[in-house]
């Protein structure tokens, strides 16, 4: 039987638009130090068996972007492996490291500074294939806009509906001291927000963000020594959709349904709608919160969902408030862990015992990773 795996400590830097004061090394060191102190592990000794890092060579403009942070994650003469996708995949792989018997304790560390590149759309534009999709000028913003158009149209969700959602989510971010964009918004503010790519207004798109996240994962034996509030990873699921946007029905997400199904099966969850006290979903674009919630089986009707009680959905303000896309799933997982440890301060959902965290990679959510966490 593989050992149970727990998250023993998490740390996030305060997300900002421009962390010009530090290199990625300094930003990453801050969160690594925090989890090291919280668990008492000795980075210079044998306590931590491996590091799973999470960064992106293009966003860092550095080949082997993990070599930049080798020193600060304590990987000198140690094992470090970089997950080059959204950070929820680093949680998945960190889990595999421990459950395989390879390492009892794993440090997961993700970082990204979107402020480094002049325009992040230049980076995501390069994710399109050089022959068909790059020459027409696609980037992840345009892809998300195409998706938003299809989804909103399908359910009759209006610009005003989305504006109301954004105001609600921004109010949550105001209670999260780590959130990037915390100023409350009114529907009038949103209506005045310029259209970036129809139907996505600037207020519907996450602000460029800099940040780092660290976690300590451990086997059951070790977890009990590192924390008195272990959060167990009980479900994991991931899946990837086809690449060309035209091959997909953008108004839904087959790969998210598959990923969710896998995670729920592993966690023995029969009814996702009532299973989770908190859901932290990666929503860099506002329309993706209802879309993901629906495809995760958390609601049957995304339009109706918008007028319901959304308290337990992204109480942190979500990725929309501003989390770098490379570490988004890692950040959402960290927030979910804080909730289950009853350490979420003003944004705490009382009595949270089981949470869902989610990350996504690729254009319009081509790939998804779903994490189920429990106390």
């Amino acid at each position: 039987m593989p050992p149970r795996v727990a998250i023993c400590a998490v740390a996030q830097s305060k997300y900002v638009r421009d962390r010009w004061q530090d290199r990625v090394q300094g930003m990453c060191w801050e969160v690594v130090q925090h989890v090291v102190r919280a668990t008492g592990v000795d980075l210079a000794g044998e306590d931590v068996g491996a590091v799973v890092s999470n960064s992106d060579d293009f966003f860092d403009c550095r080949t082997i972007s993990d070599s930049a942070i080798t020193d600060v994650v304590g990987a000198h003469f140690k094992c470090e492996e970089k997950v080059a996708q959204d950070g929820a995949q680093a949680v998945y792989y960190g889990y595999a490291n421990v459950a395989s018997g390879s390492s009892d304790v794993v440090l997961v560390a993700g970082h990204s500074k979107e402020s480094q590149v002049g325009d992040r759309n230049l980076i995501t534009h390069a994710a399109f294939d050089p022959f068909y999709t790059r020459p027409v000028g696609l980037d992840y913003l345009a892809a998300a806009a195409l998706q938003a158009d299809a989804f909103l149209r399908r359910f009759g969700i209006t610009d005003a509906d989305l504006a109301r959602l954004v105001c609600q989510q921004r109010a949550k971010a105001a209670r999260n001291p780590l959130a990037n964009e915390r100023t409350p918004l009114s529907p009038a503010d949103v209506a005045a927000s310029p259209m970036l790519a129809d139907p996505l207004r600037e207020a519907y798109v996450y602000p460029p963000s800099d940040g780092a996240v660290a976690m300590i994962l451990a086997s059951e034996d070790r977890a009990r020594h590192l924390t008195d509030k272990p959060v167990w990873i009980t479900g994991l699921g991931s899946s990837i959709d086809s690449f060309f946007l035209g091959d997909r029905d953008l108004s839904e997400s087959a790969s998210l349904r598959q990923a969710a199904g896998r995670a729920y099966r592993m966690a023995n969850i029969g009814q996702p709608r009532t299973a989770f006290d908190v859901c932290e979903l990666s929503d860099p674009y506002a329309h993706q919160l209802p879309l993901w919630a629906w495809q995760l089986g958390l609601t049957e009707d995304p339009r109706q969902w918008l007028s319901g009680d959304l308290a337990r959905f992204n109480p942190s303000g979500g990725s929309l408030a501003g989390t770098p896309q490379v570490v988004s799933g890692l950040a959402r997982t960290a927030e979910a862990v804080l909730q289950l440890r009853n350490e979420a301060g003003e944004r705490q959902i009382p009595g949270a015992k089981r949470a869902l965290a989610h990350g996504t990679t690729g254009p319009a959510g081509q790939q998804h990773c779903v994490v189920v966490l429990e106390t």
């Binding site: 962390r19 010009w20 004061q21 530090d22 290199r23 090394q25 300094g26 060191w29 980075l43 210079a44 293009f58 403009c61 080798t70 020193d71 600060v72 304590g74 000198h76 500074k113 402020s115 480094q116 590149v117 002049g118 230049l122 980076i123 390069a126 050089p130 022959f131 790059r134």
Partner: protein
């Protein structure tokens, strides 16, 4: 450059990508670069636990996994510990430029550096047969008014004639 003619069936697309970057120095590298620019001094930081130097200074001592917060001046002279004579014109991905070949690069153990730390920079010498490990070398700085807070504020290292 026009695509090379291939068999008629193959399509070949060329593309040059450019990504403008603004890199932060952070306080540690920033201190080092400012000292180059404003004072013509080479600063290393020292690990409070093992005492080794790092030059350029970095946030953390990789060996001890602690922040290295003390700074000490090292150089400007030092001992050549290893070197490369480069015949292949490698392009700098930041500027797109290549140096004229041959040129030499060097690992210099700067005077005052502890724990075997070496500094990597260009070594200016036209007679490559002179190069051997153990030579004494010194940093040559860019003139006042031309230093910008970049690693190239040190133009290169040169052999100190007459010192074995």
């Amino acid at each position: 450059m026009p695509p090379k003619p291939l068999s008629e069936e193959l399509i070949h697309r060329e593309h040059m990508a450019r990504f403008p970057q603004r890199w932060s120095t952070g306080p540690v590298m920033g201190k080092f670069l400012k000292a180059l620019r404003d004072e013509k001094r080479i600063m290393a930081n020292v690990c409070p636990r093992c005492g080794r130097s790092q030059v350029p200074p970095r946030e953390v001592c990789a060996v001890c996994r602690v922040a290295a917060t003390q700074f000490e001046e090292v150089g400007p002279a030092g001992t050549l510990r290893n070197f490369d004579v480069v015949y292949y014109a490698s392009p700098d991905p930041v500027t797109g430029q290549s140096r004229e070949v041959p040129y030499a690069t060097a690992y210099v153990e700067l005077d005052g550096a502890k724990g075997g730390a070496t500094f990597w920079h260009e070594l200016h010498e036209t007679d490559m047969t002179k190069l051997r490990r153990g030579l004494r070398v010194r940093a040559v700085f860019e003139e006042d008014g031309k230093r910008t807070g970049a690693i190239t504020d040190i133009k290169y290292f040169e052999i100190i004639e007459g010192e074995a």
